[in-house]
Subunit: 184 residues, 2 copies
């Protein structure tokens, strides 16, 4: 079982403003079509998405479900999700430690998890359970917001796989986590 | 008068561990010679270095003065520096707002300041007085430490000038600050 992160951040490491706003992302103001920065190839390699409750609630406000309707999605929460007839049946709640969650997914036949959302990414990273990170830097400093990274019990050494640039000034770097645990 | 930043950070945005340690920088453990990543060309374009008192004190612990002996250096402090016969006469104390400091430097005939040290960089960025940033990402997550960036009164929009990669996995991006003030 592998787990990966694919995310955009400001140069100062925020994935959203404090209120969750994404207006600083290119294309979010509607003036230019969003460019494709490898997301399609990435999501095609994934068979399950793991998101936190906060990210899930935020995604629902966007209108429309952002994942393929046959994509398994696990929402980390100790509470049940409110039934939503507009959501695919592939969305389920999950709880437990990052290791427990991945072990259960592996038993259920999944092989590559996309870990998304700030707190969720931080928890899986600190547990040593992320093998791969693709981070796209947006050329803006926000000064405050929801941080991508958080405290760790120990350094995580990374191997730089490659860096690509995209208009307008995006820098996308891919890393493997050298001291990730192979949890299962 | 222009002001630039040239600095290395961990992928999670720290320029030093909480205690100031730089052991995570490539070459700092003595096992490999430090590679030259454009610093020589950068420092040759600069005629004055502006550092905070904390960075100055830290630099003194390294043994040896890290700048050319004819390089003007301004140490931001409200207290005088302790006389050190081993330091060049080009080192002086300075105080005031970032705008005051740069205006004084310009009156003194300087044209390009290298702004260094976490708090100092943050203060000059928030004042809109940094025009250019060269940030080198080291492939490690530290989890905590002294942050490169800090709070801002307003977004700073950046123009990506270019990105280079260096062994072992360093990613160096250069940005111009689009909404920097031309203060003088």
């Amino acid at each position: 079982m592998r787990a990966s992160v694919f995310i955009a951040t400001s140069l100062d490491g925020f994935i959203a403003r404090t209120d969750g706003a994404l207006d600083w992302l290119p294309g979010e103001d509607g003036t230019e079509p969003p460019e494709e920065h490898g997301y399609e190839a990435f999501i095609a390699s994934v068979d399950v998405v793991v998101i936190g409750r906060g990210t899930y609630e935020k995604v629902l406000t966007f209108g429309g479900w952002p994942y393929r309707r046959d994509m398994a999605v696990r929402v980390l929460s100790t509470r049940n999700l409110q039934p939503r007839p507009d959501l695919p049946k592939t969305v389920e709640v999950a709880s437990g430690s990052p290791g427990d969650i991945l072990a259960k997914l592996e038993r259920d036949g999944f092989r590559h998890a996309y870990i998304d959302g700030g707190k969720t990414i931080q928890g899986f990273l600190d547990a040593g359970l992320i093998q791969r990170m693709i981070v796209t830097r947006i050329p803006v400093l926000l000064g405050s917001g929801i941080p991508l990274f958080g405290p760790l019990h120990a350094d995580l050494r990374l191997r730089h796989v490659g860096t690509k640039t995209f208009a307008p000034g995006l820098v996308q770097s891919e890393y493997e986590v050298e001291n990730a645990r192979s949890h299962a």
